[in-house]
Amino acid sequence: MRPYLLLICPVLLFLGASYLLPFLGIVQLSFTDPDPGFAQYGHVLSDPLSLGVIGRTLRLCLIVTVVSVTSAYVITLLWVRGSPLVRMITELCIMIPFWISILSRAFGWLSMLSNRGLLNTWLQDLGLIDSAIQMTRNEFAVVVGMSHYLIPFAVFPLATAMRNVDERVLTAADGMGASRLRIFWQVYLPMTASGIMGATLLVFVFSIGFYVTPALLGGGQSVLVAELIYLWIFQIPQWGMAAAMSVVLMIAVGGILYLLIRRYEDVTP
């Protein structure tokens, strides 16, 4: 028994000391700094600034989730059901962005959307617009950048669900004369619903704690929860508020993950 414990314990001690204990420290901070009790939570959930940020985060994350999962569904369809060559090309289109650093991808969108970027230059050269359209430093850019980052993550659960679809059911529907559209709406979509649910929860969880992309593409104009926490630590030090917001975020994400695991257990008995 002893030697085995010697193997198992180091990582538990390591994470216990450098992750669990400091996290408990943050929980403690949220109840004590500067006022003891629930004052910080009251502030976080009633202050117009932070309520505004929470509202914007929820709204943008919902939009991002819908955009990402819809786009991912379309491209996964091709990845799973296309001819071998199409499958190969689609896989490259998914995997290359997936492995590229989040900073390069955010910079790519800046190159694309900024006032002297590709899109504005093209539109001006074509004579469609007179002066540059502001496409960065706003919520539009944040949604575009975050969706771009999260589409590959939505692809994986969708691909699993699509690969599990029984081909014979589709053949049967086809044989009984259902149109392609009808096969998709009444057979394929319901059969991949578990994948859609999984992808939706996964993307939403990921998006809600996002910091880098919104900070770069939003340019300080559309602050999300994660950036607010950063500001409360480094710009206007209010550690108690940052701690309380972190705890709220952790609870929200924990709740969604619980749902995700419950769903997973339902699907695989």
């Binding site: 414990l5 538990l12 994470l15 369809l77 790519g108 900024s114 880098v212």
Partner: protein, 270 residues
Amino acid sequence: MTRLRPGVIATLLSSLVALFLLMPLIAVVPVSFTSRRYLSLPNGDWSWRHYQLLFENPEWGHSLMTSVQVGVLASVLSVALATAFCVGIWLLRPPFAMLMTGFVLLPMVAPPVVSSLTLFFFLTQLSQWNSLIAYDTLGGVVLAHMVMVVPYAVVVLMVSLSQVDRRMDLAAQSMGANLFTRIFGVILPNIRFGMLGALFLCFLLSWDEIGVTLFVTSVETITLPRRMWMGLRDNVDPAIASISVLLILVVTLVILARAAHLWRKVRGPS
């Protein structure tokens, strides 16, 4: 009966999504050749100056070294810890194994900003006691990255170990092998590819890590992503375009090479 292939509409929509996914990666290329100091397209005057700058400015080389050091240390230490943990769980099959694994996976599922705040809090506390593993030091960044990548190593190794045949270990045991021989002579050789995969994944994750690094460094220890961040945050520096083009090129070449290899295998020798 042939499979139902995606129709015209699905193919068209997918192409749009594919275009959306690749567009920003392509947009970086012309920007990196601009002759100006701000983000713009080259107007007939293509220039290599931002690439030159990468090699001339010692700060970039310095950050590259920092990133490599952090990546190597964090991945080796994480995989060592994760291997010990996974082998221990596999051998002992203790009660609460699920709970322990869940705990180890926590940094992977928690929102990155919460992990960042936690590690910032921890390292600033440590700074009062020592200067080796502290806020804005190499040791501190390595520790923070280890916390973030250990869960991934555990996942990869758990999958790898689940494919090892327990009867091999039983055979070794019945022939009198002690624990040391069982681990180093039987189990580890059987999961060597899993360990290599875990090392590679951990290095890549540490190499790209920015969320936590932003919170635990300021001016002394600057990894490559951290330096890119500095060039992106205030006024956008086209040098970021040139380094991005280089990074995108490397990733694309590796993935294309792998794809070509797989494609040949699927097609068979021709």
